[in-house]
């Protein structure tokens, strides 16, 4: 993992060297004198040889020091980890939508293969994987926030975790507000996952339903729902889990766009803003943390996989 991280850091560093524009100029404004710019570049260490800059960054990063944001004068680690909960909350919201909508839809479609319900839900799923995230977000916002005014168009409420605490302390309105803010972004982000999940579950479950052990169970008189939910679904979920795990990258990529549209104060927005300001340490930091998050999620997927896969569990 470390070599991959170093590689990522090197590419980001290289890219940010090619990008035209200078953080010192952005920071000082268009009327800054060349001397002031030179002075600031020196203070930021941007006038050192590139190799020195890179290896000094790397040395610090390996010791857990991601440097300081050029624009926000705060440690990058603080900024990124401060924003991370919002992104994780959004990603989990998206995942929840994906599972809550995708699973039942897929199961029902598989059980009633060939029915009108099957046809309709798969058509919807096809639409779901085809709709561009940013357009879906805009349309949802237009309809539910602007036209109907049911949900807030933009922003995040209190963190759901702390809002739950407040709700227990007798202040449920904060939690309600948090959830209201969370709905549209989660649906936007989760639609692709829901569509994908329902398709995967359907085809995977349809496949297991014709396997020998399921037929045996049926023959032994196990009730139909038990066959589906206990015997077949568990095995059918295996490929689903790995696909969803692989799709987490798409989910995080989608999170960048979703955060942009809904003004969700997460890491994705932070990264894009950092690029637009040429805030090199912050770009580096956000990309590295997201990449790390990525590999942790892959690890988690492996664990879940093992949990629902008996053979792996007992190995």
């Amino acid at each position: 993992m470390v070599p991959v991280m170093i590689g990522i850091a090197a590419i980001v560093f290289g890219l940010m060297q090619i990008v035209p524009g200078d953080p010192a100029v952005v920071l000082l404004g268009q009327d800054a004198t060349p001397e002031a710019v030179a002075q600031l570049r020196h203070a930021l260490g941007l006038d050192r040889p590139l190799t020195v800059q890179f290896f000094s960054y790397l040395g610090h990063a390996l010791r857990g020091d991601l440097g300081e944001s050029i624009f926000q004068h705060e440690p990058v680690a603080e900024l990124v980890f401060g924003r991370l909960p919002a992104t994780v909350e959004l990603a989990l919201g998206g995942l929840l939508v994906a599972l809550v909508v995708g699973l039942p839809l897929g199961v029902l479609a598989a059980v009633r293969r060939g029915s009108l319900f099957d046809l309709l839900s798969m058509a919807i799923a096809q639409l779901g994987v085809s709709v561009p995230v940013f357009w879906l977000g805009i349309m949802l916002m237009l309809w539910f926030a602007v036209q109907l005014g049911w949900l807030p168009a933009i922003g995040r409420g209190a963190p759901v975790l702390s809002a739950v605490g407040l709700a227990l302390a007798g202040r449920p309105e904060v939690l309600v507000d948090s959830l209201r803010h969370l709905i549209l972004p989660s649906v936007t982000l989760g639609t692709y996952g829901a569509a994908l999940t329902s398709r995967m579950v359907r085809s995977s479950l349809a496949e297991t339903l014709v396997e020998d052990y399921v037929r045996t169970a049926r023959a032994k008189g196990v009730p139909g729902w038990r066959v589906v939910y206990v015997h077949a679904l568990r095995n059918a979920l295996l490929p689903v889990v790995s696909v969803i795990g692989l799709q987490f990258g798409t989910l995080l990529g989608g999170a960048v766009v979703t955060e942009t549209i809904f003004g969700w104060p997460g890491v994705g927005q932070l990264a894009v803003k950092a690029i637009s300001q040429r805030d090199l340490p912050l770009v580096q930091g956000t990309v590295l943390v997201i990449a790390l998050l990525f590999s942790f999620v892959n690890l988690a997927v492996d664990l879940v996989y093992a949990a629902i896969h008996p053979r792996i569990r007992y190995k």
């Binding site: 991959v4 940010m16 096809q126 085809s130 561009p132 940013f134 349309m139 990529g253 942009t260 990264a271």
Partner: protein, 280 residues
């Protein structure tokens, strides 16, 4: 692909193939014959007729400069489709080459190449593309390069997997014994086995590429105005959401049509090339 006939009956029965194919065909026709299917001049602004809703003369209304929206959409298909096709073809070529070499030679070659793939896979997609376009500057060529950087890894992985399986096969051994060089073996004997998955991946990838391109344009990093661009129109549309929802709805629908078409086509192709698949 093995010399296995594709029974016409199966092609027709796969309605996703047919529907997707027709949608994509319609798209290509509109893009190719844009001057013949539209009647308003592409760049003629009419500030007095801004943001008109659909109506006679303007079937899809007008944009924020009073230009005919249908014309903008039809011409806008060109950069979108072109960038998607070029970037997917280049991604497939690059990824396949890397995958073949890594899978066939194995050892440290494989190790190094796959590490590079891992590095690119570790990036958040949009951020890598954004940083690349910021570095290279906007414009269709640079956007294509950015998309290649994002997408080539999938092909490398898929092709490597089948190269690994294929290189142990007898006919490959036989070719090697007969003195065929590695390039010849890779191209003639190993790659054909991976072609099916690559074609399916590429078809589905076209949809993703269209969305990515319009996302970049939407963020101000894609095609330069006044070139017609679905992403740009959509980005402006965001600002006029209350006054004129059409301005964002129409280009969004165009993007969705395109992606849906390529996805259906890709699904259909997968069924066709993988008869075991139950996803029909």
């Amino acid at each position: 692909m093995k010399a296995r006939g594709l029974p016409l009956r199966r092609v027709v029965r796969s309605y996703s193939l047919v529907v997707g194919g027709l949608m994509v065909l319609a798209l290509f026709v509109v893009a190719a014959f844009a001057p013949y299917v539209t009647w308003a001049p592409l760049d003629q602004m009419d500030m007095g007729a801004r943001l008109l809703p659909p109506g006679p003369g303007h079937p899809l209304g007008t944009d924020n400069f009073g230009r005919d929206m249908w014309t903008r959409i039809a011409y806008g298909a060109r950069p979108s489709v072109l960038i998607a096709v070029v970037s997917v073809a280049a991604s497939a070529a690059l990824g396949s080459a890397v995958g073949l070499v890594a899978g066939y030679f194995g050892g440290w070659v494989d190790l190094v190449l796959m590490r590079i793939v891992d590095i690119f896979l570790g990036f958040p997609v949009i951020i890598l593309a954004l940083a690349l376009v910021a570095a290279l500057g906007p414009g269709p060529v640079h956007v294509s390069i950015a998309l290649v950087a994002v997408f080539w890894t999938q092909y490398a992985r898929v092709v490597r997997a089948s190269a690994l399986a294929e290189k142990e096969r007898e006919f490959v051994e036989a070719a090697r014994a007969a003195g065929a060089g590695p390039v010849r073996i890779l191209v003639r004997h190993v790659f054909p086995a991976a072609l099916g998955p690559v074609v399916v991946l590429a078809t589905l990838g076209l949809g993703t590429a269209i969305v990515s391109e319009s996302t970049l344009s939407f963020l101000g990093f894609g095609v330069q105005p006044p070139a017609p661009s679905w992403g740009w129109t959509l980005a402006y549309g965001m600002r006029y959401l209350r006054e004129d929802p059409y301005l964002s709805a129409v280009p969004g629908a165009a993007i969705m049509w395109t992606v849906l078409g390529f996805n259906l086509l890709g699904d259909g192709l997968r069924d066709l090339l993988d008869p075991r698949g139950l996803s029909r």
